[in-house]
């Protein structure tokens, strides 16, 4: 009896008891839900499984980066959605980072008016729902743009109107593939050169002309490659025919509105991260740099920002993942991203709710986990080495 009492009063035994009880409860709940779901699906006449992915989709998509047509299968539609999600996410991240850094630095500027304006912008944007910006840009700004006949021309090759932006498209993309390859190779060369320069400096203490090499390999070579490709290719420049433009590539208004909303909204949050990061660098650091005779610009780029980046990386990563998740706000204006194409249109057509929801969520979870892993690796690399 007393051994039984001491058994049930043993902390380890109790811990295991609670945990096993919790697992049984969760398994029970899962079984209950799955049984209900399968009963309800039998009643609705839906077969579970992923066979539906090979059915013809029959859904027309207004904005396609792949060579999808509506005769393709639903799996192809899924990839169209993923590609569109990624496209708007990547472009929004780049632009929002630029605008956010500019705003964050402006907010810390010693110029009173500049920092006040940046502060007002941040306070304005952060306290308004993102969906507001999406609808505002779409129905408020882009819908108010002129008709195609009165388009706003941008350098005579691109045209902005209420049906989006019509941009010229190269007739043959072959030259651009070579240009992209050249860009990648020159970036790789820079990476190798900087690794070599670092090792040489550690060995001999001599500086390599890395700045000149860097400008050459990162900026000049790619610019030349792209310039060559653009000049050597025949361009399909949009021309006004009747009521709309023919030729070129139409960037749909949904994309423009979603991108504008994501950039203006996220920049406010990035600005706060940048400000927090720069303020976290002890004042003595910039004072010491200034005492050593560095100019303000160099203090910022050589002393303050490298240290601030360390603080900024984790919240910045979070913000980038938010952009990925927030790109789904496009569903509200029917931008064909993975949520609106797959979870909306494909689900309506097939009724395969569970499979489609699982695949859609998996896209976000997989990308999220991959980015987190990458950022953890990067964080570990730039972390302060304490000996």
């Amino acid at each position: 009896m007393s051994s039984f009492l001491s058994f049930i009063n043993d902390k380890r035994v109790r811990d295991w008891f609670y945990q096993i009880a919790l697992i049984l409860l969760l398994v029970g709940l899962a079984v209950f839900f799955v049984r209900n779901a399968s009963e309800n699906m039998v009643k609705a006449g839906i077969a579970s499984g992923f066979d539906f992915l090979w059915r013809t989709s029959g859904i027309e998509v207004p904005f396609v980066l792949t060579n999808y047509t509506q005769a393709d299968n639903i799996l192809a539609l899924f990839w169209v959605g993923v590609a569109n999600t990624m496209l708007v996410t990547v472009i929004a991240i780049v632009l929002a980072t630029l605008l956010g850094f500019a705003l964050g630095i402006a907010r810390l500027s010693s110029h009173w008016l500049l920092s006040t304006i940046a502060g007002a912008y941040v306070e304005f944007v952060r306290n308004i729902p993102l969906l507001f910006f999406v609808l505002f840009w779409y129905f408020g700004v882009i819908a108010a743009l002129p008709q195609p006949r009165q388009s706003i021309g941008l350098f005579g090759v691109a045209f902005l109107n209420n049906r989006g932006i019509t941009i010229p498209l190269p007739d043959a993309p072959g030259n651009f593939r070579w240009a992209a390859l050249a860009v990648l190779v020159s970036w790789l060369c820079y990476w190798l050169a900087s690794a070599w320069a670092r090792r040489r400096k550690e060995r001999t203490g001599q500086d390599a002309p890395l700045l000149a090499i860097g400008i050459g390999l990162i900026v000049v070579v790619p610019a030349l490659a792209i310039a060559w490709a653009s000049l050597a290719t025949r361009w399909d420049i949009p021309v006004l025919r009747g009521f709309n433009y023919r030729g070129g590539f139409v960037v749909i208004p949904e994309f423009v509105a979603l991108l504008a909303a994501l950039v203006t909204y996220t920049a406010g949050f990035i600005a706060e991260i940048v400000r927090g990061g720069i303020e976290s660098v002890a004042k003595g650091q910039s004072e010491a740099a200034s005492a050593l005779g560095l100019r303000p610009g160099r203090i910022l780029s050589l002393v303050v920002i490298p240290q601030a980046l360390r603080v900024m990386t984790p919240p910045l990563t979070n913000q980038y993942l938010n952009v990925l998740k927030n790109s789904s706000f496009g569903a509200a204006i029917a931008y064909p991203d993975v949520v609106s194409l797959f979870m909306g249109s494909a689900l309506n057509n097939t009724g395969q709710a569970i499979e489609i929801i699982a695949m859609t969520l998996a896209v976000y979870l997989v990308i999220g986990l991959a980015v987190s892993a990458l950022m953890n690796w990067y964080n570990a690399r730039i972390a302060l080495v304490t000996r």
Binding site: N36, K43, L365
Partner: protein, 347 residues
């Protein structure tokens, strides 16, 4: 004397060096370029009085539209003769919270718990009806009232769940920790819009056939789960900021896990995480707008829907400016409050 010095201060601020002066001029021109047409549109050329679109002067804002639609922006399609019920529910919530805040320290917790048990069912009864009140379907709810309803009821799900999962994530028990981490990271990793779709599609599917679950309830549950994960991270911050000695001392005094947690750890940890939790609540108010995708019309949804009225064509800007201003005021006030809490704690 003060006037001169403040004037010279401004001159120093704006025109201290040639470069500063140049920047100031550019910025002032930029502000004027944006602000002057905006003020002309919103105030000078705007029409404030009238009853139809024809009363509005072209080129200016037509605030007549907002006046005509004000009831809808606040209550949605809630029957006009029943709107007093919403007002009473709102007043009851404000009075309840005020009573808890103003009560003497020793009564505060008990009063808070009573309010937590009484107010939410009271609110649902007042809004949806039954027991002598006319039934009003959630289809007719909308506007600012719905925004606040969803935010409050979703956080009633999110805060307790979030606290539980935050504790689970800090637990010594490996399986509980694992389950909590999976829950939190899953919900934090997926877009809220997808969760609202998911809740509205999956909840009817996984419940036994025949149990209908209200459209609005599905959205509230979905939002509640996502925000629970974010709340859990906010609470975790507070738990981690608390010195370990607090729990160890409580355990040494013979308190068991739940007593140590409830009496010693949580009261202190929640106070630390209150600013972060408020920020999550602000995010919740902003994300409430997403119920638009399952055709529930909160404040922004009503603003959007009102654009389709053939009697009021082209009122986009007025509707957006008005609804945006309300969101901004609510969220700005809350974020200021959260910041002042944070400052008070730091001192």
């Amino acid at each position: 004397m003060t006037r001169t010095s403040s004037l010279s201060l401004w001159r120093e601020r704006l025109f201290g060096t040639p470069f500063t002066g140049f920047t100031s001029v550019v910025l002032v021109v930029l502000i004027a370029w944006i602000a002057i047409p905006l003020i002309r549109w919103a105030v000078i050329d705007a029409t404030w009085v009238g009853s139809t679109r024809a009363d509005c002067a072209p080129g200016g804002a037509c605030w007549v539209f907002i006046r005509a639609r004000f009831g809808q922006f606040m209550y949605g399609l809630y029957p006009v003769d029943q709107r007093w019920r919403v007002d009473i529910a709102g007043i009851a919530f404000v009075l309840g919270i005020a009573a808890v805040v103003l009560a003497p320290q020793r009564l505060r917790l008990k009063l808070g718990l009573v309010m937590l048990v009484v107010l939410p069912p009271l609110g649902i009864w007042l809004l949806s009806g039954g027991f002598g009140l006319r039934d009003i379907e959630t289809r007719e709810w909308g506007g600012l009232m719905l925004t606040l309803f969803i935010s409050i009821y979703a956080s009633l799900i999110a805060i307790p769940l979030g606290i539980l999962f935050a504790l689970g994530r800090q637990s010594e028990l490996r399986i509980i920790r694992l389950i909590s981490v999976i829950f939190i990271e899953f919900w934090r990793g997926v877009p809220i819009i997808a969760v609202i779709f998911l809740a509205s599609l999956l909840l009817p599917l996984i419940l036994p056939g025949g149990i209908g679950i209200d459209r609005l309830a599905r959205a509230v549950i979905g939002l509640g789960f996502v925000i629970a994960a974010y709340m859990a991270e906010a609470v975790r911050g507070g738990l981690q900021a608390l010195p370990r000695g607090q729990r160890e001392a409580a355990t040494a005094l013979g308190l068991n896990y739940w007593k140590a947690t409830g009496l010693i750890v949580l009261p202190q940890a929640l106070r630390i995480s209150l600013p972060a939790m408020t920020n999550e609540f602000i995010a919740l108010i902003k994300n409430t707008t997403l119920v638009l995708v399952v055709s529930i019309l909160d404040l922004l949804g009503i603003a959007q829907a009102s654009l389709a009225d053939p009697n009021w064509v082209g009122m986009n800007m007025e509707a957006y400016v008005f609804s945006g201003a309300i969101y901004w005021l609510i969220c700005f006030a809350l974020s200021r409050w959260s910041r002042s809490l944070e400052k008070k704690r730091r001192l």
